[in-house]
């Protein structure tokens, strides 16, 4: 389980500049390269290594970098842009992305668990802008037990999405109006999508009490 999945890796192969406005050229392509599949462009490096994240440069990035400095990194991988943001900047960045950059649609909120890391969780917001026809991901790292500000007040759709992240990872969202389990039963113990939760593992106690059977297996 190599968990440092997406370490920055800044030294980029000097490849096709991802440029302003149309950064994200491939899929967005209002005009066109017929082949939609984004990857085409960044496929520069040698085969075995695979593509690597390259810095993402655009006016948008410049603006925020000047504002927030080192708390924010912007990269592109396979034509998809993402910010890696310090946890403390999260509410500001998300709100600014919506209000100023028109990322009006929160596609998804999810997380990933890296048990060996100090800050165990990656929380990911996948955003989309209808006016710009463009996607961006915002990522942050938080430690187990730490909480993160809820974005329900920014995108109402975050309500259930955050509940699911809470349900599956146990990440607390501050200011969420009704943070409780959504897919699993209310009394369930454990957070199944954490890496230390085995695939056959169950809350035996819950099963015995509520289903009246010895084990769900």
């Amino acid at each position: 389980m190599a968990e440092e999945v997406k370490s920055p890796a800044p030294p980029p192969p000097p490849e096709g500049e991802k440029k302003p406005a149309a950064e994200k050229p491939a899929p967005a392509a209002s005009a066109a390269p017929a082949k939609p599949a984004a990857p085409a462009k960044p496929a520069a490096p040698a085969k075995p290594a695979g593509p690597v994240p390259v810095p993402w440069t655009s006016p948008l990035v410049e603006k925020y970098r000047s504002q927030y400095g080192s708390g924010l990194e912007a990269q592109t991988y396979l034509g998809q842009n993402y910010f890696t943001v310090d946890r403390s900047l999260i509410p500001d960045i998300l709100r600014l992305l919506r209000d100023e950059e028109q990322f009006d649609y929160c596609v998804d909120i999810t997380a990933a668990h890296y048990p060996k890391r100090e800050k165990q969780f990656d929380v990911v917001w996948i955003l989309y802008s209808f006016p710009r026809n463009e996607r961006v991901r915002v990522k942050t790292q938080i430690a187990d037990g730490a909480s993160i500000p809820s974005s329900v007040s920014i995108w109402p759709t975050a309500n259930w999405l955050e509940r699911e992240v809470y349900d599956m990872f146990g990440i607390q969202f501050d200011g969420h109006p009704d943070l409780k389990r959504i897919l699993l039963p209310d009394g369930w113990k454990g957070y199944p999508l954490r890496k230390d939760y085995g695939i056959l593992q169950q809350d035996k106690e819950w099963v015995q009490i509520n289903l009246g059977i010895e084990s769900g297996q």
Binding site: V5, Y77, R137, W160, I182
Partner: protein, 385 residues
């Protein structure tokens, strides 16, 4: 938008009925999980004043199978059939989204012929999914007959699937890198027959419903949601389009071979149940257009791209989404360079769309709740995963 958030967030206070007038209490009833009109095991707690809905709360998860956990314990290839089990009425779309996401992660592309086959099957599946929606939606509103008509015609599509890949529902039609099966002899003929067969059938459904007075009364101005509300709530697919937002991933960010086809995105104006009905009916006709172009222009060539036997994408992460019949279906995959996804997240359209139920039904009657659940076109297998 704050307006939406407030409405969407005001949660049910089930314990303390507020006694606004006289001492009449609200009635709290439990619709589901065993209920004929909840399309599976959806449980909706309704707070009613007489028959008027004061608030709802959805309780989901009865069908939760932990698909995302399973993904982390299967290789990319092994996980492929599992995605069919999410939105089981549009299994081909799920497979397309998953295969394309992994291909993108591996930086390979399916050959053109495979893309065309994918488009044909996916669009056929979209029609099948819309047919099922139409039948059950009409049944919810009390019209029994359309259900059987749509099932009769859906059969023709399922036959094509069956001849192509041996399965009718959970098809597992595509592989990472292309398609496993070449089209069978007579595939094009079957599809063309369907193209000729189906338009009169749509007319038949429309004859039963489109101008039916009762249907109009039951669907017009029911479950109205504005485009802005849709976007704020992340609602996509026909529901969004019926609210007047002309947005379809097939056009906005074309995938597979969609950029090569000429088709329109039907939209509605009022965002009510009737508009959603019209949009989906129009989408079926547009799908036929796409299929027609695809089957006439299908190129020769290989059907499998250059992918290794063992799928081992490089370290990295990708988000790829497609326009499933129900809305934006996205896959967010984190790879650690091994043969198994480190993390695989499915962005299910049904799950997100269902969230809008609450603000759509407030102030309506119980009968409308059923209509709105139907018009959202949810599949519980996908909501719960």
């Amino acid at each position: 938008m704050n307006d939406v958030s407030n409405r969407a967030l005001s949660n049910l206070d089930l314990e303390t009925p507020d006694k606004t007038y006289l001492d009449s209490n609200e009635l709290v009833i439990n619709m589901g999980p065993q209920h004929p009109a909840t399309h599976g095991v959806l449980r909706v707690i309704l707070k009613l004043d007489g028959e008027k809905v004061l608030g709802t709360e959805c309780v989901i998860g009865y069908l939760h199978r932990g698909v995302e956990k399973i993904a982390e314990n299967r290789t990319y290839t092994m996980f492929n059939p599992y995605v069919d089990r999410m939105d089981y009425v549009a299994a081909v779309s799920n497979g397309l989204g998953y295969c394309e996401a992994v291909e993108k992660l591996m930086n390979v592309e399916a050959p053109p012929r495979a893309k065309y086959i994918r488009v044909i099957l996916t669009e056929l599946n979209r029609i099948a999914s819309h047919q099922l929606w139409l039948g059950t939606h009409a049944l919810d509103i009390g019209a029994m007959t359309p259900l059987f008509y749509t099932f009769r015609d859906r059969e023709e599509i399922l036959k094509i699937f069956e001849r192509y890949c041996g399965a009718r529902l959970t098809t597992h039609a595509f592989r990472i890198g292309g398609c496993q099966y070449e089209t069978y002899a007579g595939f094009e003929k079957d599809v063309k027959n369907f193209l000729a067969f189906f338009p009169p059938k749509i007319d038949e459904y429309e004859a039963l419903l489109t101008t039916n007075r009762i249907w109009l009364e039951r669907t017009k101005n029911v479950g109205v949601i504005s485009g802005a509300d849709c976007i704020a709530l992340g609602v996509t697919g026909p529901v969004l389009r019926a609210s007047g937002v002309q947005w379809d991933l097939r056009k906005a960010q074309p995938y597979a071979a969609y950029s090569e086809f000429d088709f329109e995105i039907p939209i509605g104006t009022n965002g009510d149940t009737y508009d959603r009905y019209l949009v989906r009916m129009a989408e079926m006709r547009q799908s036929l257009r796409i299929i027609e172009q695809a089957v006439n222009g299908i190129p020769e060539g290989p059907i499998m791209g250059k992918v290794p036997k063992v799928i081992k994408p490089p370290v990295g992460e990708i988000y790829h989404s497609i326009e499933a019949p129900k809305g934006e279906l996205g896959y967010f995959i984190v790879s650690d360079g091994s043969t198994q996804p480190y993390r695989l997240r499915v962005r299910p359209p049904s799950f997100v769309n269902l969230q809008a139920l609450d603000i759509m039904v407030r102030g309506l009657l119980v009968a409308d709740v059923v209509a709105v659940i139907g018009t959202l076109d949810i599949v519980l297998g996908e909501v719960d995963r």
